[in-house]
């Protein structure tokens, strides 16, 4: 490096190595720097991300081995099993559960983010930190808390019988609603944050202009605020939908094995049934669903592309 150092310094170009021009040395130095900075990270990601993903996806066309792993004989069997009603129902059910959760998060998260954005500066920070705080605690324990809350003798049943709404404890655990509650609880902060960022950025003058032109608050919301905060809505929906779709822990703890999602199927193919090729095919289906969604999101965000930001 010291020789390069000398060459790169204009004054040193007349030294013993002056056969190479300083400019060429600089280009070489840049190439070396490029390699030094990008090489390790890119290399690591190629070996431990791209190769494993490629390997996993290649398994979709092979037969299962008897004790796990694969036999390298091509087959279309994995894909035809994918449309078996047994698996298709679980897959579509997972998309439904993830979609319901995303919608619920949007309905609860939007007014929350809107209210936070209108708080005085000091309270804004506190309210935002309070939204994120539960997110930084162990995910499994947060889910487990709902088992305590929703079980037969749990707090929710206690409260409902206490105020006389019900006589018998309800069976609140182990159904789709419970899973949605757990997913919503786990990922709601991921909806609130991008929504807050989008709403906070809006120019308040636009709302005022709308009101001055005679629009009612509802009209202003539907024709000004909501369309302009659409990028935040889309980001938030992606942030919630993606981790919901592949989840297997929440359905297991709160679904009690009775309601399962595609994540549970994938987990079982790898750890119980030892049918890796079919597990890989299910994973490919999840990735495909997410890619379609990403394209939809990219398209929608172009339609609603960034306007209405507060000007400096």
């Amino acid at each position: 490096m010291t020789t390069e150092h000398d060459i790169a310094r204009p004054g040193a170009a007349t030294g013993p190595l002056s056969g190479r021009s300083p400019r060429r040395a600089r280009v070489l130095g840049r190439a070396a720097a490029r390699l030094a900075f990008l090489g390790p990270g890119v290399g690591y990601l190629i070996v431990l991300l791209i190769v494993p993903l490629a390997l996993l996806l290649s398994y979709t066309i092979f037969r299962r081995g008897r004790f796990g792993g694969v036999v390298y004989e091509t087959t279309g069997e994995n894909f035809s099993r994918l449309v078996d009603p047994l698996y298709l129902d679980v897959f579509l059910g997972s998309i439904q559960t993830a979609a319901i959760t995303t919608l619920a998060a949007l309905l609860l998260g939007y007014p929350t983010a809107y209210a936070i954005a209108r708080l005085p500066r000091r309270w804004k920070t506190i309210a935002l930190v309070a939204v994120v705080l539960p997110f930084w605690t162990n995910f499994l324990i947060r889910v487990y808390a709902w088992v305590i809350l929703l079980s037969g003798p749990g707090l929710v049943n206690e409260a409902l019988t206490g105020i006389g709404l019900i006589d018998e404890p309800l069976e609140l655990l182990y159904n789709q609603g419970t899973i949605v509650t757990g997913l919503l609880y786990s990922y709601l902060p991921l909806m609130v944050l991008p929504l807050y960022a989008a709403i906070e950025r809006l120019d308040p003058q636009l709302r005022e202009a709308s009101a001055n032109l005679g629009a009612r608050p509802a009209r202003t919301f539907w024709s000004v605020t909501l369309p302009l905060s659409m990028p935040g809505v889309l980001t938030g929906c992606m942030f919630v939908f993606v981790p919901c779709l592949g989840n297997f822990v929440i359905p297991e703890i709160l679904g009690g094995g009775r309601s399962i999602m595609v994540g549970n199927l994938i987990r079982d193919q790898f750890l119980k049934a030892r049918d890796w090729p079919f597990g890989a095919t299910l994973a490919l289906a999840v990735i495909a669903a997410l890619v379609v969604l990403l394209f939809l999101q990219a398209w929608a965000s172009r339609v609603y592309g960034g306007t209405g930001e507060r000007r400096a």
Binding site: M1, E4, A8, R9, P10, G11, G29, R30, A33, R34, A36, F37, L38, G41, V42, Y44, L45, L48, L49, P52, L55, L56, G68, G69, L108, P111, T112, A115, I116, R118, T125, V129, A130, V131, L133, W136, T137, N138, F139, L140, I141, Y144, A145, V147, I148, P153, Y185, L188, P189, P217, V242, P243, L245, G246, F248, V249, G263, I266, F270, V286
Partner: protein, 257 residues
């Protein structure tokens, strides 16, 4: 004309929703009785039980080893990658590539790595979890450092280069000190994510060397014991302290800028 009253119903509902389970966990951890549902007087019984639990202790040690190892590697690789992407490349493809591990569902990354480890016949252990955590840790560090880079003033680096400094000297004397807060923030993020990570660890750890989230998972699956509440309360207290201290620190460093 503002009528925020109605707006504050979902606002408060969100906070009640987020904090009720946490309050219940904390209160129940001090329960003297054996039931996880009814409070029968205050005691520290379950904390004592927890302190004597060797599985939990071993899980905690394993988690700290994994988090420390993966954080160091993620920070070095992620910082280099961020600087390289911002200063020595204009490839959009590379940008997307660097973010991929952060957006890929954890389950997909987990099974891909399991398949890969099996194919190269690597024995599983703490090292395989560390290697797996670096994949996403690096992406998050790179993302955080890049945000810092995009705000950084490039004129100092240019001046350094114009005065004849090598890329290495420019990096260590100018870029690195400017980026220090971003690197620290990225490292903290990688550490926190690794400590709490369950799915990838579940697939890439050896059954004999579980991390704490894996231990918690088996506790939760095989029955509800108030000992989990005590563990939850301690973890909550630690995370809350870390988050609040971090918040204070960023506010402090921001006020100095």
């Amino acid at each position: 004309m503002r009528r925020p009253g109605l707006l504050y119903v979902p606002f408060w509902a969100t906070y009640v929703f987020l904090y009720t389970p946490i309050v219940v966990l904390v209160v129940m951890s001090f329960n003297a009785g054996d039931s996880p549902y009814t409070f029968e007087g205050a005691s520290l019984k379950w904390y004592g039980e927890l302190a004597g639990d060797a599985t939990v202790r071993q899980g905690l040690v394993n988690t700290l080893i994994v988090a420390a190892g993966s954080t160091v590697l993620s920070t070095v690789l992620g910082t280099l990658l961020a600087v390289g992407m911002a200063r020595y490349s204009r490839s959009r493809l590379l940008d997307a590539f660097g973010l991929l591990p952060a957006v890929l569902p954890d389950l997909v990354l987990a099974i891909a790595l399991l398949v890969f480890y099996a194919a190269v016949q690597m024995t599983l252990g703490l090292h395989s979890v560390i290697m797996a955590h670096v994949v996403f840790g690096m992406a998050f560090v790179a993302a955080v450092v890049r945000t810092r880079l995009s705000h950084a003033d490039t004129s100092l680096e240019e001046a350094s280069r114009d005065l004849g400094a090598t890329p290495l000297a420019t990096f260590t004397r100018i870029t690195l000190p400017t980026l220090a807060p971003g690197i620290v923030a990225g490292a903290l993020l990688a550490f926190t994510l690794s400590i709490d990570e369950f799915v990838i660890a579940f697939f890439t750890a050896a059954p004999t060397e579980p991390t704490l989230p894996i231990v918690i998972y088996s506790m939760v699956r095989f029955g509800v014991t108030p000992e989990i509440n005590a563990l939850a309360t301690i973890l909550l207290a630690v995370s809350f302290t870390v988050v609040i201290v971090a918040q204070r620190m960023t506010r402090l460093t921001e006020s100095f800028r």
